[in-house]
Subunit: 297 residues, 2 copies
């Protein structure tokens, strides 16, 4: 049964607090968007869908959602559907969700876009879906990791917007504006290339750094005591969840490999400058990298 707000044949409005939303996947990202829905009084009810029973109970306890339902029922009862499961699961759920959809609006929040968009490329309800990706996250996971008031001023990327129905796109844009996000548009393929550079490789550099230090430095106290010296910020992302990240690397394999190869070749330059004691070259490499200051203040 579709919510009454959908039956009066008018377009959904973001200021209609009679709307029901459902959030599929109640982890860090789904939970944080549930809080944004609630804090901004965008909907009257939030239904959660969560395969992990413990997470589902925790999400109810924390007040992220009002009710837990199975996917089919949740979609049928909702006007606005937010898909926030790991990206391989999202790509398999999205066609099923669109099968159930009439006029509802579906957004996803995955860190890759090409495969997810591809999964509904020829779906008759493709227009109800708006592909998006928020530039926000932390290294923590699960419903307890959800945070209030962290999405303001963050970029949200909307991909392939011309493949969404006008009213669905407009609803999603209004929603993101209402919670204070800054819209950036891209095509899905370009998104995955850019994200490999600017996010996915950073996770690999952190995972590998943690493994290096755990392998080499057997004195845990020493790691703890000395971590102030730069290590803590470079290794932070190594706390990130494999359930989130293996699917991202799976879906963005080619782009990530391309950047990873470049990264290893950049490291070899540092290695060679050290081995040859070519301090002038090492100086050049560091000064080159300092140019990042012009972009990131």
């Amino acid at each position: 049964m579709v919510n009454k707000a959908l039956n009066d044949n008018t377009q959904l409005s973001i200021v209609n607090s009679q709307l029901n939303a459902c959030v599929i996947g109640l982890g860090l990202i789904g939970g944080t968007f549930a809080l944004a829905l609630r804090d901004n009084k965008i909907v009257s009810k939030i239904i959660g869908v969560e395969a992990n029973e413990e997470h589902a109970q925790k999400a109810l306890q924390l007040g992220l959602v009002d009710q837990i339902l199975a996917l089919d029922e949740a979609v049928k009862q909702s006007d606005f559907i937010i898909l926030a499961t790991p990206v391989t699961i999202a790509a398999s759920q999205l066609p099923k969700i669109l099968d159930l959809v009439e006029k509802q609006i579906v957004i996803d929040l995955g860190s890759t876009k090409f495969d997810i968009i591809q999964s509904v490329k020829n779906h008759p309800k493709r227009g109800r879906y708006v592909a998006s990706h928020p530039m926000w996250g932390t290294e923590f996971s699960g419903p307890e990791a959800a945070q209030h008031n962290v999405l303001q001023d963050r970029v949200i990327i909307i991909c392939d917007k011309n493949d969404s129905d006008n009213d669905a796109l407009e609803f999603a844009e209004n929603f993101y504006h209402k919670i204070g996000m800054r819209l950036v548009y891209m095509n899905g393929e370009a998104h995955d290339v850019h994200l490999a550079y600017v996010s996915h490789i950073s996770h690999i550099t952190s995972f590998a750094l943690a493994n290096t230090v755990l392998e080499k430095e057997k004195e845990e106290d020493t790691i703890f005591n000395l971590a102030g010296s730069g290590f803590e910020s470079t290794v932070r992302l190594a706390k990130s969840n494999s359930a989130t990240w293996v699917p991202v690397f799976k879906q963005n394999k080619e782009n990530v490999l391309d950047v990873l190869n470049e990264y290893i070749s950049q490291l070899r330059k540092f290695k060679s400058s050290l081995e040859k004691e070519n301090w002038e070259y090492l100086n050049e490499l560091i000064e080159e990298s300092n140019k990042i200051k012009k972009i990131l203040k």
Copy 2:
């Protein structure tokens, strides 16, 4: 001429606000320790020594120091000497400083310890020197980068403490306590091994990441817009000054190369798991790296 506090033949006390200090090298670290001296009312006068005329003037303007003098004169007029120049310069300055010293106390704050300690190993005044290294820093440099009240609760490593005279060690320890730092003791060689793991490699991973992204991602706006997604924290250290870091890598070459080789071999595991689409192995690699959570909350 040595300050009068030295002439009464009693030991220097950290509570004697008649002391003069000199800070050699008025950058991020020297400047921050000058502020700590002043904010904690540890000395009555701070003399600065700085080869870069512009930095010297800036340090005076900012009130980091009361006066700029040449090294020899500054050492002679000071009771407490803080050496905070890049580590290769520090290793060449320290023997000259000890040549000038009578009862004064000299500390250095360099990111490597073995070579600096080695430079005065057989110096008749070796006992006046306390080798140390604060676990604090930022990616910024120069006198403007100096900060108030940032050293509290930070670790300061004191190396080879048995080679310092008792009163010099005690003075340095009291100073660090007074500014709120937590003392950790190590030998100089072990220090350089640990720091290669926990700090120096982090800088290389960031420098190489910046070079990778600057090479691959030609759209600066994209880097700027997408940086929220993990990149900003992993690349932060790439803003660090080559004048500081080339000398560190020079002095700690063998240890850094050792860790860098391990790091590249860890990255190759990620590369191989992607190339072979061995998602189970990738999952293991990430779960292994997650163990860093047990050490760094």
